[in-house]
């Protein structure tokens, strides 16, 4: 199975390498799509990881035990389809190219799997159809 995970850290565990632990202790290969450290040494990291459910659960448990806050991202970006008028304002600003035009109807599609939860699109939408839930 594939999971998209958000890990929040603070100044106490900012020095620990999440990716290193996942790789050496669990043989997982996380693909880090976003990492951010704030001035106060808090920050967040978002990665995508493939593996057996049991193994993933164990690995996440290990991260939690180290003081990281760990959350699965599922519906991290949502779009109210009835509000969306397919203007396209979100299309060219998304860093992960998660929005595309349908070549036939020119309706705007959102691919949540590629979304890295950056939040950039939220303010680009003039009808408040997009919501970031992280």
């Amino acid at each position: 199975m594939r999971r998209k995970v958000r890990v929040d850290f603070d100044e106490l565990n900012v020095g620990e390498s999440v990716a290193y632990i996942l790789a050496t202790e669990f043989g997982l290969k996380p693909n880090i799509v976003k990492a951010q450290v704030n001035d106060d040494s808090s920050g967040l990291m978002i990665f995508i990881v493939d593996g057996e459910e049991e193994l993933l659960d164990k690995a996440m448990g290990r991260l939690k035990s180290m003081g990281f806050e760990v959350r699965d991202l599922e519906k991290h970006i949502t779009r109210d389809k009835a509000r969306c008028w397919s203007c396209g304002a979100c299309v060219s600003i998304c860093p992960s190219k998660s929005f595309t035009y349908d070549p036939e109807t020119w309706e705007v599609h959102l691919d949540i799997d590629t979304c890295i939860a950056c939040g950039s699109c939220v303010t680009s939408c003039s009808v408040k159809a997009l919501k970031l839930n992280i």
């Binding site: 396209g88 299309v91 003039s126």
Partner: protein
């Protein structure tokens, strides 16, 4: 072979009219040629669905007992004009609520009215011998109003510049979010579907032309404000903003799908509106112009980080713009639009369906739009003395 409005309307009435959208007609003309296509097709439908800031609605509330002469009017907290007769008002699309945090404005009041929602009306007046009431606080819906019609002084811009940003910080504009260092560019025209790009010199669109406006029937009422003709053309079509339309239409016929309040981050309120204009294929000339495709239509890229004096940086076809990326000095810029091409397609298709069903007849203009026009800038100057006037 020339056709007349009456002949076309006769075919529409008997449900025999051949109607194509401005998109469909591109291929038809490529395959069959202009002459054959002009013979076969009676009407080409165009469409656009974009932010049209210069829009608003005239409303009449009817008289209360006792009556009031409203001079200060709020609709869901949005100021409407109080300088008309007692219970008439005009609500402008871009007017914001006092609480600008809310992201609600005149355009949303218009959308909510068309959606049949109750609107909170609060008004005050001076109280006069003939209008004794001084204040009123009530709710109104579209059904309660005597008249409600959009009257938009400038809609359906013929063409529009492509916005980019060369500066180091993101800009929030009416053309959307513009990323720093030209990472993206935003355009705003339905290109080959756009009404005024398919009749570039307004040979058939004129005052009185019946149009699709926000889901109902409307009319071209005048040339739009900032109507200009002295714009560079490629293949007979302007490459920048040129002609515009003033339009009018009954809100009671409209559909909220095609009339939407927008809150454009960092800019303000605007109205997204679907407009479609049917073009009567009176002769080959009309047909040839309506068959224009995105490959032949161009727009110029402008740097929105400059406050004014924006010089065109490059020119792109709508086919390039719609491909999702353009090149500028060896750099790839991602593109997307600020107007809905999906919506423009729906408008043109819906108008086509109505004409095919015999429900929408063409109206010949009673007056053509000006053949020449230019736009003057606003000068900051001292008052002239009487003798100089």
């Amino acid at each position: 072979m020339a056709k007349t409005y009456e002949e076309i309307n006769e075919k529409i009435r008997s449900k025999k009219a051949v109607v194509c959208t401005a998109e469909e007609v591109v291929d038809l003309v490529r395959k069959k040629g202009v002459e054959k296509a002009a013979e076969e097709v009676d009407v080409v439908t165009t469409g656009t669905f974009g932010a049209m800031c210069s829009s608003g609605a005239f409303l009449n509330f009817g008289h209360s007992t006792p009556p009031i002469r409203m001079t200060n009017i709020l609709l869901n907290g949005v100021q409407a004009y109080g300088g008309l007769a007692a219970v008439d008002t005009y609500i402008g699309a871009t007017q914001m609520t006092e609480d600008s945090e809310k992201g609600y404005g005149g355009a949303h009041v218009i959308e909510d009215l068309i959606a049949g929602k109750d609107i909170h009306l609060r008004a005050t007046g001076p109280g006069t011998d003939c209008y004794v009431r001084k204040e009123i606080d009530t709710y109104v819906s579209l059904d309660d109003l005597n008249e409600a019609y959009l009257y938009n002084p400038r809609n359906s811009y013929q063409n529009y510049g492509v916005a980019t940003n060369t500066s180091d910080k993101a800009l929030y504009t009416y053309m959307g979010k513009l990323l720093p260092k030209m990472k993206n560019a935003s355009y705003s025209s339905a290109g080959q579907l756009s009404p005024l790009l398919n009749d570039p010199h307004c040979d058939v669109i004129g005052i009185g032309t019946r149009i699709f406006l926000g889901g109902g029937e409307g009319y071209v009422s005048w040339q739009g404000t900032q109507f200009k003709t002295d714009v560079e053309e490629v293949g007979g079509v302007p490459v920048a903003g040129a002609r515009t339309l003033a339009v009018i239409g009954d809100m009671k016929q409209m559909d909220p799908y095609y009339v939407r309040g927008l809150d454009i981050h960092g800019y303000g309120i605007s109205l997204a509106l679907g407009i479609g204009v049917p073009l009567p294929i009176l002769d080959e000339g009309v047909m040839a112009r309506a068959a224009v495709s995105d490959e032949d239509l161009f727009a110029e890229m402008l740097d929105y980080s400059l406050p004014s004096g924006r010089v065109p940086m490059a020119r792109y076809s709508y086919a390039q713009l719609r491909s999702g990326k353009i090149e500028y000095q060896g750099k790839t810029i991602r593109t997307s639009s600020m107007s809905s091409y999906a919506g423009a397609k729906k408008v043109a298709q819906e108008l086509k369906d109505r004409i095919e069903r015999g429900e929408f007849l063409l109206n010949a203009p009673s007056l053509m739009l000006p053949k020449a026009g230019s736009v003057k800038p606003l000068k900051v100057r001292e008052a002239r003395r009487c003798a100089e006037r």
